[in-house]
Symmetry: C2
Subunit: 148 residues, 2 copies
């Protein structure tokens, strides 16, 4: 909260005239992130269907790109417990919809594909792969597995 206030050019206690708690602030940031990510994710699905490379590949590229462009926000959105009671109803499901569509409506396959993408992403952000690992290759291997 102090770092945020510094960035805004005010003192930390002043933040509490605008938001009720750190948790509420985080929920607002998460909702914004779902809206922004959901939009690019839906756009990627539309693009992927038009090209010959497939929807899964387009979604994976967009997922990874968004996460690497907003690493702290990605961790905030995907790490730890999600305060769903503070989010607009249906927002999370809407943001996730493209992967369900790409999985042909199979929720099990969609969840497996999401787990793969999240695993790749968080392991990359945490620097858990060896320095010589070919991450593009690993992404391609996983995409191929879920396209089949």
């Amino acid at each position: 909260m102090r770092h945020l206030a510094d960035r805004m050019g005010i003192r930390a206690p002043s933040l509490y005239k605008h938001i009720e708690s750190k948790e509420e602030l985080e929920a607002l940031l998460i909702a914004d992130a779902f809206r922004e990510f959901g939009q690019v994710f839906h756009d990627a699905l539309a693009d992927g269907r038009r090209s010959r490379r497939g929807a899964m590949r387009a979604l994976a590229r967009t997922y990874r790109g968004w996460a690497l462009a907003h690493p702290h926000l990605y961790r905030l959105v995907t790490g730890g417990r999600l305060a769903r009671e503070r989010l607009p109803e249906g927002l999370e499901a809407w943001a996730a919809e493209p992967i369900v569509i790409a999985a042909g409506g199979d929720h099990d396959r969609a969840r497996a594909a999401w787990a793969f993408a999240h695993g790749m992403t968080i392991l990359e952000l945490d620097g858990r792969f060896p320095p010589d690992a070919n991450l593009d290759g690993a992404w391609s291997a996983g995409i191929a597995a879920f396209e089949g």
Copy 2:
């Protein structure tokens, strides 16, 4: 450190007569975890090769089971930066070896399969799947994708 000392029936500062820092203690716990997990993971590979259900399925079952049985240790081992310089050389690679073997020596496929397993596991531990999600089904879908 205080909780640990409580459990041991001593005061927190006394811990520092045995270990140099929290980071060293964590590295010792992580090394132990790699040894224990690596053993059951290698055993699972051997079992999986003898049965008709395939090595990937046996490894996935063991991976998930170990993580759910030791959730805090799993988070310690897989979350955040790994202090590799404090670990015995080769230990991490030895623990991971079964998945590389099951992937036919293809490191890209092995990393993709690990990312899937880690993603499923950490999302389950964090309660990120909907309450009505069929996690066994999602695991099966992912295993099928990586067996193919």
